[in-house]
């Protein structure tokens, strides 16, 4: 049963684990992925060039230390990388759900994570970590089930989107839904898919993940071919070529309907909308929060993190907060930035010490 009241099932969950669960089952750390992530967070499946999306932070001796922790990461509900989503077959019709897949919420994503943990025999998490939409799940998890997580780490995230954030999501969805090949979301098996719309959505989103400084440094106004501009509408600037590549390579691994659902999940998220309910659960929780933002992130700027800090403090929740200097914008959370990794590592290590892991 979903938050909306709609029923969905059965739900299949694709997940990966790293490290070893200890005998007391106390050393689990849950990794919540962001908008376009998947369960493959770390390591590789035979090809060392295809490492997980957060391999730099998860592993032996890394901040999320797999010598010490048992790390779990699952594809989100509504996803397209193995977990039940709009491209999965609806048992009622024998055809892919498409847009008949119910709208899900961050709360629903968390409940699926918890069902997976129950399946693994884990009732308490040493830590949970996520960036962006991943951080929203960590925050909602603690609000709904305070004390279930010892160290909650929310990286460059938000308790609710701004109008500007929603506007970007809206344009991305429009690009997909107005693509003639979208076919009302029932494009599966038609050998047509809204590839143009999805790649435009990805290209635009990608601009918001980078900072102006990092784009200037990476591309400037450099041209693709030689020194002379072509003066036409082909891909002439390097930044155009880069975006085009981002858009096209995204098509190979992502489903347009999942993009619609996941951006909508973020739009509707409002963690502290009901202060009475939040206060009743959060006040006096034993969960400790680490909130991190990046100074060049304008997708979810530091003010989003400050709002989370203010809210949590008002419920007497212990919060450690830091804005990290980084030129790489929202994408910083995926990069190996020494102060950032040092902070996550130290926070988790202290938690592990407290739990005698």
């Amino acid at each position: 049963m979903l938050e909306s009241g709609a029923a969905l099932g059965p739900v299949e969950v694709a997940y990966e684990t790293y490290g070893t669960l200890n005998a007391d089952r106390t050393n689990a750390v849950y990794v919540c992925h962001a908008l376009t992530g998947d369960a493959h967070a770390a390591g590789h499946h035979g090809d060392p060039d295809r490492r997980g999306w957060w391999d730099n932070i998860i592993g032996p001796g890394r901040p999320v230390d797999t010598d010490r922790f048992f790390v779990v990461c699952a594809n989100l509900l509504g996803g397209c990388q193995g977990t039940t989503g709009p491209s999965s077959t609806d048992p009622a019709t024998g055809r892919p759900y498409g847009l008949s897949f119910p709208l899900v919420t961050v709360r629903d994503l968390v409940e699926v994570h918890r069902a997976l943990l129950a399946h693994l025999g884990i009732t308490h998490l040493a830590g949970a970590i996520g960036g962006s939409l991943g951080g929203m799940q960590v925050l909602q998890w603690v609000i709904d089930h305070p004390g279930e997580i010892s160290a909650a780490m929310v990286i460059c995230s938000s308790s609710r989107l701004s109008a500007q954030n929603i506007a970007f999501s809206a344009v991305a969805r429009e690009a997909i839904m107005r693509d003639p090949d979208f076919q009302g979301g029932d494009y599966y098996g038609t050998d047509r898919a809204p590839d143009t719309g999805l790649s435009i959505a990805r290209m635009m989103a990608h601009i918001t993940y980078l900072s102006e400084e990092s784009m200037r440094e990476k591309f400037g106004r450099r041209l693709q071919h030689g020194d002379a501009p072509r003066f036409d509408f082909s891909v002439d600037f390097q930044v155009e070529s880069y975006l085009q590549h981002q858009g096209e390579s995204f098509l190979k691994r992502f489903d347009a309907n999942t993009y619609l659902y996941m951006t909508r999940v973020m739009d509707y998220f409002d963690a502290f909308a009901d202060p009475a309910a939040v206060g009743a659960t959060l006040e006096g929780t034993s969960t400790k929060f680490l909130i991190i933002s990046f100074d060049s992130d304008w997708r979810f700027d530091t003010e989003h993190s400050r709002e989370i800090v203010r809210q949590l403090q008002s419920w007497r929740v212990p919060v450690t907060f830091r804005e990290i200097a980084s030129p790489w914008g929202h994408d910083s959370f995926l990069l190996e930035i020494p102060e950032y990794h040092r902070t996550v590592g130290a926070f988790l290590a202290r938690t592990a010490d407290d739990l005698a892991i």
Binding site: V309, R310, Q313, S314, P318, E339, D354
Partner: protein
């Protein structure tokens, strides 16, 4: 683990179980004591990387912020007690910091070195040198203490900001509470002071 004597004086002013914000918390020693031994909810604010990581290693909640820029992370009245221990004199905008402190907390505890202590006066008046002492162990050119004041100066600022003194403890050069003899001429005889202050009109 025993606290520095002046921190002991500060800690004694905090009731058990209160919500405490420590501005310029350094390595978090005072907060660790208040949280672990006194049942307080505590958060530190610190600007240095060393201080931040020392707090994280101790398990003390800490926010990196420049208190001279105000405390935009903290809502009005979010804390019962706000501590400013040996920090006021190192801020660029002490008046703003004091205001912010009384915005986010119901009660403030401020400790600072008294720049009118006789030994410092002696150093400047007789030796012609910028004073250095146990509580001010820096040279003029490398000191973080840029806004030093005397006990009398501080009380003038409190009056100006409409703040009232709830309690005051005078300190000797080792940061211990001083005996009665010095209390008659505090501005001359006390090396430092700890004030507990509140809003004049609650």
């Amino acid at each position: 683990m025993s606290l520095r004597p002046d921190l002991d004086v500060v800690a004694a002013m905090v009731h058990d179980g209160r919500r405490v914000l420590d501005l310029g918390c350094g390595d978090g020693a005072l907060l660790a004591h208040l949280i672990n031994d006194r049942g307080c909810d505590g958060t530190g604010v610190e600007i240095s990387d060393e201080g931040f990581h020392a707090c994280v290693a101790r398990g003390v909640p800490v926010m990196v912020a420049d208190i001279d820029q105000g405390l935009s992370e903290v809502e009005d009245d979010a804390y019962d007690v706000v501590i400013l221990s040996q920090t006021l004199q190192a801020t660029h905008r002490p008046a703003l910091v004091l205001q912010e402190m009384m915005r986010v907390g119901k009660v403030g505890i401020v400790s600072f070195p008294n720049f009118a202590h006789w030994r410092l006066r002696w150093s400047l008046a007789v030796r012609g040198r910028m004073p250095a002492s146990r509580s001010l162990p820096y040279h003029w050119y490398d000191t973080p203490n840029i806004h030093l004041c005397s006990i009398r100066d501080f009380e003038t600022l409190l009056a100006h900001d409409d703040l009232r003194t709830i309690r005051r403890v005078l300190l000797d050069e080792r940061g211990r509470p001083v005996g009665d003899a010095r209390r008659r001429r505090p501005n001359l005889l006390a090396a430092g002071a700890v004030y507990m202050v509140g809003r004049a009109t609650p």
